[in-house]
Point group: C2
DNA sequence: CACCGCATGTAACGTGTTACATGATTCA
DNA sequence: TGAATCATGTAACACGTTACATGCGGTG
């Protein structure tokens, strides 16, 4: 994923790692806590694969920059990725796994877990609203936050279903 | 994630890799296409970490089995994981990234992408219904499928918003 | 005979992620 | 003086994922 985000940002023009990190933070409204080191590792790997090339640029009073740009192969790979619809229902999410195991194991207290998780979801919604309320939130970013909100709401509705279902199962003698 | 699923299954009693693979497939209603090899690699890694221990058991007419069981440390790690609410709004999903880049870049055709993706989502919903209709679907699994459905529906609603928003942005002179 | 099911595993690679090291400048 | 910003990078590990190798037994 990060590969493509970086390639996408480079498609707007050459940039160096430090700059890209800021661009990513910006694009994701600060919700992606990205370690700078990871940008460099990813960039290096992309360069190794011939998707990105770089050039050192000296500066006065500041360290050299390594300015990266997309190669033709990189552009092609990016467009291929962009065009292809996402085909992954994300069934391997932690939340799913946790609930399933809670049900299968009867270890711990499933209902208590659901309550805690619901609480967390509400906090997440509040967090998202707070982020959206910032003045400097670009329209694209607010779109993202909205999408995240939809997912959290889906989780909330699902948690309700889970709790109801647990009741049914227990009621049915199990 | 797989670590914990395997540990969870082992919490029900000792088992060997091949068996665990089937149990995972069962638990996820066949939606997790898990390579057997991965089970063994994960199991090995768990053993290295002292969370799982194994014992070879000979069989007539069949290869030896390596029967694994959870250690005390493993049980503890599992419970810790199970109890903790999930705190990850999954903003790094491919779908989000793709839409954001489509908007930022004006490369390709965002609207066409949205249409394709919507189509794919509808297919996914159909797939989920089909799985849910199976006779041998356990209640827990159908719960999972329902959850996945909620997420896909959230995606669909979000795609609508994205398309509308794109219209607004273009209309406003961009 | 060919294939499937049973059952194990390893080598290899891709990606995420962090902790750490370096060194200059600017500002309080 | 100490901290923050600018800017680079590496070593190391965890995890996902696949392709491949092995070998027996039963079924068509």
């Amino acid at each position: 994923m990060l590969r493509y985000v970086l390639m996408g940002l480079l498609a707007r023009g050459p940039a160096h790692g430090y700059e890209l990190r800021a661009a990513v933070a910006d694009m994701f409204g600060g919700t992606w806590d990205l370690n700078v080191g990871q940008v460099y590792t990813t960039l290096t790997r992309l360069e190794r694969g011939g998707l990105v090339e770089s050039e050192r640029v000296a500066q006065d009073n500041f360290p050299d920059r390594r300015v990266c740009s997309l190669t033709d192969a990189g552009t092609e790979a990016l467009l291929d990725w962009l065009v292809a619809p996402v085909d992954d229902m994300a069934l391997k999410q932690d939340l799913f796994g946790k609930i399933l195991l809670h049900c299968l194991l009867d270890a711990g207290d499933p209902v208590a877990f659901i309550r805690r998780q619901r609480q967390r979801c509400l906090e997440q919604l509040a967090q998202l609203s707070a982020l959206e309320a910032h003045d400097d939130t670009e329209p694209v970013t607010s779109l993202l936050l909205e999408g995240a909100g939809f997912h959290v709401e889906a989780d909330l509705r699902w948690l309700d279903r889970c709790e109801a279902r647990l009741g049914e199962l227990k009621g049915a003698g199990r």
